[in-house]
């Protein structure tokens, strides 16, 4: 399905063996087109985080090839990893600051982004004064300020309650619609994977590899009704089955 689109991120026979001998990934082939949203599912330890680290250049692969056509990368972790000594506003401006964006432009972008994620009223708060969900929004906003072309999410909402998680899923979909980034989203929740993505990649462990790929036929924009669609239930069922076989 990505044949008609420019490729944004491509793994070709990627393998990763750590110095201690752990084979985290073996012969992974995934091609992700510009503007696609791919979810990665798989048992713990199958190398999902490692794959994202390799894609973003934080970790060099030990075999195969990774190609990206952008260096505008956003990265969101499970922990919000905010700087506790900075206010919300200054946390959101951090990456722009690191990348050398001008002061006025940063200020404007930060204000706009806080508006988008609904945190304008908390600009002057410190992270310790925020709820988990709000911290996560700050973490999203921080990357969003730079308008990344490739956005990677490593179980960003795993620590949140279900309601907060669903509302942040809708937030991500909204941002995806507005920003047109390419998304790679790691999660342990099958429903979340199917709800967000245009393709679900199920991985297996020991060694980490691609087990099965599911195309998600639902178009964007998506709304919460999708969660109650029988076709949605059917697909999550299939993916769950595949995931169970991967353990």
């Amino acid at each position: 399905m990505s044949s008609d689109k420019a490729v944004m991120l491509q793994f070709e026979g990627v393998g990763m063996t750590f110095p201690d001998g752990t084979v985290a990934l073996e012969d992974v082939d995934i091609s992700i087109g510009r503007g696609e949203f791919v979810a990665l599912l798989g048992p713990s330890g199958c190398g999902k985080s490692t794959l994202l680290r390799i894609a973003s250049g934080l970790q060099p692969e030990t075999s195969g090839r990774v190609e990206t056509t952008t260096d505008q990368v956003g990265y969101v972790f499970q922990d919000a990893t905010l700087l506790p000594w900075r206010t919300v506003e200054r946390n959101v401006g951090l990456f722009a600051e690191l990348e050398g964006m001008g002061k006025t432009q940063t200020k404007n972008e930060v204000a706009k982004t806080l508006e988008i994620v609904g945190l304008s009223a908390f600009a002057g708060h410190y992270p310790r004064q925020l709820s988990g969900g709000m911290k996560m929004r700050v973490s999203l906003a921080r990357s969003l300020v730079l308008h990344p072309e490739l956005f990677m999410f490593d179980e960003p909402f795993a620590a949140l309650d279900e309601i907060t998680r669903q509302s942040l899923n809708d937030e991500v979909l909204r941002l995806y619609g507005a920003e047109q980034f390419t998304g790679v989203f790691v999660t342990h929740s099958v429903a979340e994977a199917v709800y967000l993505s245009s393709r679900v990649v199920v991985m297996a462990a020991r060694p980490g590899r691609v087990k099965e790929v599911f195309d998600v036929p639902f178009g964007y924009p998506r709304t919460a009704e999708l969660r109650y669609d029988p076709a949605f239930a059917e697909l999550t069922g299939l993916v769950s089955q595949s995931l169970r076989g991967a353990h």
Binding site: L58, A80, T81, P84
Partner: protein, 281 residues
């Protein structure tokens, strides 16, 4: 220091748990009660335990106040001694800070520097520096600066270890994000490692400030030339059996230690108080 420290609930919870003993009134009443008991015990030892002939070992509190603090001449010489000691302690602490911060930052920048320097930082701590004071006096002479050297030696270790620990305390994920967004070494140090280190730095400073004061006072015992410090006065009063002035000087010395400890506590709070809550319990 996890980013997700739940700083908001814990204080109120702690208060609810321990009830009256943690209330504001109790925070004032209880220490005062302890203080009064100590004074009572002091009188008891002074008048009941000690015979009149031996009372100079521990003169009663009101005599200490009258002779040691209310006599203008006595008070002046004690304060002058205290001032001399304070100057030595402050100079020693400032130099220890410069050296300590530099060494800690160097150690945080490259593993090989850490590996090369750390053993010496540890050795420095295990040397009984106070026992070396006579040697230092012998080697460096009896000037102001050799007293300062004692303070530096005794105060520098906690600054090195706490600062180094603080600089290492930023989460790996945070470092990854700095890498991803092309931060150079200097930016990483200034925007991530140094701010992350501040709570630990102030912990180290508080310890070192107290140690520097102790170093200066003990140094006074050995450096008998130049302006007499409060430590020398303590020794002199002890030899001449001037119990009242002896205890007044000891009280002044401990007040100096307290002041310094409090100062760095307050400074730390002013700098990190808005975002940092120490996790207790």
């Amino acid at each position: 220091m996890a980013a997700a420290t739940p700083g908001r609930q814990s204080p109120s919870k702690a208060r609810a748990r321990s009830g009256w003993f943690a209330s504001r009134t109790a925070e004032i009443v209880l220490p005062i009660a302890v203080g009064l008991s100590v004074i009572g015990l002091w009188y008891f030892v002074s008048y009941v335990v000690l015979s009149e002939r031996r009372r100079f070992v521990l003169p009663p509190p009101h005599k200490v106040v009258a002779v040691g603090f209310l006599d203008g001449h006595n008070l002046m010489s004690e304060l002058e001694g205290l001032w001399t000691t304070t100057r030595v302690a402050v100079a020693g602490l400032l130099i220890a800070m410069v050296i300590g911060f530099l060494v800690a930052i160097l150690m945080s920048q490259a593993k090989w520097i850490e590996t090369s320097l750390y053993p010496y930082a540890v050795v420095l701590q295990t040397i009984p520096i106070l026992a070396l004071v006579p040697l230092i006096a012998f080697a460096l002479g009896y000037s102001f600066w050799s007293r300062v050297v004692v303070c530096v030696l005794i105060a520098v270790f906690p600054i090195i270890t706490n600062t180094f620990f603080g600089l290492q305390s930023a989460e790996p994920a945070m470092h990854d994000l700095f890498t991803l967004h092309r931060a150079d070494r200097y930016t990483r140090l200034v925007k991530l490692q140094v701010p992350a280190s501040l709570p630990a730095v102030f912990t180290g400073l508080r310890i070192s400030a107290g140690l520097s004061v102790i170093g200066a006072i003990v140094g006074d015992f050995f450096f008998r030339q130049g302006d007499p410090g409060i430590g020398l006065l303590i020794d002199t009063y002890r030899n001449s059996l001037q119990g009242e002035r002896l205890y007044a000087s000891i009280i002044l010395s401990s007040l100096l230690g307290l002041a310094v400890f409090w100062l760095f506590g307050a400074l730390g709070k002013a700098v990190t108080g808005s975002w940092y809550r120490p996790t207790s319990g």
